[in-house]
Symmetry: D3
Subunit: 174 residues, 6 copies
């Protein structure tokens, strides 16, 4: 069993996509669902590398589409593990876009996804290596992960809101 602690840089994964006609809606904007499909794939590639295993998507958190992406634009998706739990990992995926000519660069979206690692034969969840955050940003994401996890469990109906200690504290303190 692999119990080696791993760093974010060990599994960081990047993908660039050129927006083609079938990716866009009749207004010429990239359809949100296509972007989410790409976020899921790059997130899964990243999670697979960290977990050293096959992974399946367990959840995708809230995604906002505020900045339109157009036909012919190039998007770059970057995925990095923010925290490893027992048999799952949380992955942060950020999307940046620019024109074919490299100009008009802007961040367009981000999301947190979670993936569960599975044993290939038994298809049972499998323990995953711990994550060792290094940079300040990595640490911040690492430390806020349990709160995002609580919200996820409430939204999935797997935790009662009254037991969500971290979130309750967060809102009560405001």
């Amino acid at each position: 069993m692999n119990l080696r602690e791993k760093e974010v840089s060990d599994s960081i994964s990047v993908s660039s996509e050129l927006i083609m006609p079938n990716d866009t809606n009749p207004l010429g904007n990239l359809m949100g669902g296509n972007l989410m499909r790409w976020m899921d794939i790059i997130g899964g590639i990243c999670a697979g590398k960290h977990c050293e295993a096959n992974v399946v998507t367990a959840s995708v958190d809230h995604v906002t589409f505020s900045s339109p992406i157009f036909l012919g634009d190039v998007i770059t998706l970057e995925a990095k593990v923010t925290r490893a739990f027992n048999t799952s990992v949380e992955v942060y995926v950020e999307v940046n876009a620019c024109g074919t000519d490299g100009f008009n660069h802007r961040k367009t979206n981000h999301a947190y996804l979670t993936f569960v690692a599975l044993h290939k034969e038994t298809m049972k969840p499998k323990q995953v290596p711990k994550l060792k955050p290094i940079s300040e940003q990595e640490l911040a994401m690492y430390e806020s992960a349990p709160r995002r996890r609580e919200l996820r469990l409430i939204l999935a109906g797997r935790m009662e809101a009254k037991n969500a200690t971290l979130i309750k504290d967060y809102f009560k303190r405001l």
Copy 2:
């Protein structure tokens, strides 16, 4: 301008998909991102009908993938408007799956998506018809919509958590 109040049944939209090889990961499960792509498409079809306009996805709320869907399974996605705001609508999409033979029927996922209606020429947001909920379930979803909207605004960084009256009340009361 169309100011007619509309009902959920005026725009309810259904789609069935057969899970094909390219939709699955190497373990033979439907990839989460592909499901989200279909949820976005059927949600957009539903929103377009309610708004009588072109729409773009504004956000997709948290989605949980707890029940695997396999190659050859048939999924049915049902989308219905839960509430209309000024220039946007919230749409609830529910996914049910069964085998090719129609057995092993189970609910697998659901999500709330929001869509903004746009004028075709100006590409500016466009006022949308109000929704008139009828059934008890429709009313419940209608009434909880503003709270989901607050959470969405916080998660999108467009509202400070301290101003989220509905959510703060909800957690403080627990």
Copy 3:
């Protein structure tokens, strides 16, 4: 073995599709072959549910394309079993189209398809449940099915025209 008589509503299947760029020809019309591909898929989903088995397409009857469908249109395909034979079923698929905004609704196409049910292991044809038509329209389709079947057998070269009693009677009576 399942010998339970089933109703049309037990297997009725619906799918909505948004017409995307790659679905259209250079004139911007949905290509006929793409529509037939979708008709086959939804027909097969419906047949699988009725037969409680894997099915393969045995034939697709004549399809007319008289009303163009455009990029950005939404089509809704509805499939229902019209009659069950020994190891096969006839399925009626109807296609309706409208614009993104839900307007300009019109029926565009229909076709009768037949599917054979197969045992998953032996790949041999498998007996299918009988169909019990309820509504007047269901009864009419049920009763005209044998005549369509005769035409199908002639066109497939599996029945000599002189033995096509039902069709011969039909034309002689005119």
Copy 4:
């Protein structure tokens, strides 16, 4: 305007396709609808060459799927014009299949499709060159075309069966 008589060989069109995973159903057979999509494309390429114009599919006649085609098989579709009418043509498409290794060659399907030629700007039907059949097989198909056309018009609900002189004669003589 082009009124030159053309031969079958002027527009004969051939295409080979390798059957890939997404083309097959969960039993590993090519799905009928995918085959019809390819038949439509090669038929349209052939019709476009004969008509020297953009064309749209007007109808696809009955197709039988009696011989399964498997993953990894290679199919060859051949399309040839059988008769030109005023603004439309009838095209015969034949499908042959074999294994990757070129063995197990067999004819699997055929269909008659009709296409209408359109002026690119006005989108109105456009007169098409006449066809001059040469071989015996070309002549036989040329001469039986009006009868197929009558059947097509009846099935499309554009001719009453009682007015279908050619078909009535055909069946009365049996």
Copy 5:
């Protein structure tokens, strides 16, 4: 084992493709990579027929894209074996394009590809039938094949340039 000598016409393979929106770049030109994908598929179909075996691509030689191909154009790819080596073949693929209306016909590209034949079970290279060139053009391609092979081996880093007798002679003679 099959040691029968085969002719070019035994495995010549043709495919026609209609250029669709997703095949083109934002300028409306067919993307080079899509064309290479089609060249590889038709080359592989041809090689499989000659070798009577499954084949995998071993190399694709230099391809030039000098003449743009547009949305709605029809391209025809023709593949023929130029020479069989021990367990591999060289295939020549030529691409011709024309408009939807069959006009503006021009040769656009060509390439030499090599394929290795594999035993289906062992996945080991498998001996292939010899090629017997007939026409003058077939002979010319057959005879220049070893020189192209030398260049290929140098470019793949599998032969030192100083040992490339045929190429060195060719250039020294200039």
Copy 6:
């Protein structure tokens, strides 16, 4: 006009792809043509960024497929400009593969592609920024580019072999 000298790092582009069923041949290997399609896309993204313009593929040099890539593998394509000419650039694309679990990492392929920059309106070739190589590897690729260009021109039939000074010298010296 942009005459600023740019560095390799200004346009380096990376993409990761998960090998899905439709990307593989019946033996389960990634098809060569699909890999070339991805190499072309990432090469074009890189060239577009360097040239600050729309680009079209002018040529793809010899590609060798010596190491099979399997279903479920993850490949990473990295593209960097090696030299800018007057209105075109040469781009080096390298492909590395590993399993879903991140192990079995190996370099599988590389190729040199050239792209021409075009004015968006006139579609005429457009001058491109010069490249300033920094590292030793960048310098080596920069300096060997003219020789690769000569070979390209010969293979495209646009230079007579006898005028290929750099290549002739190279072979004569051996």
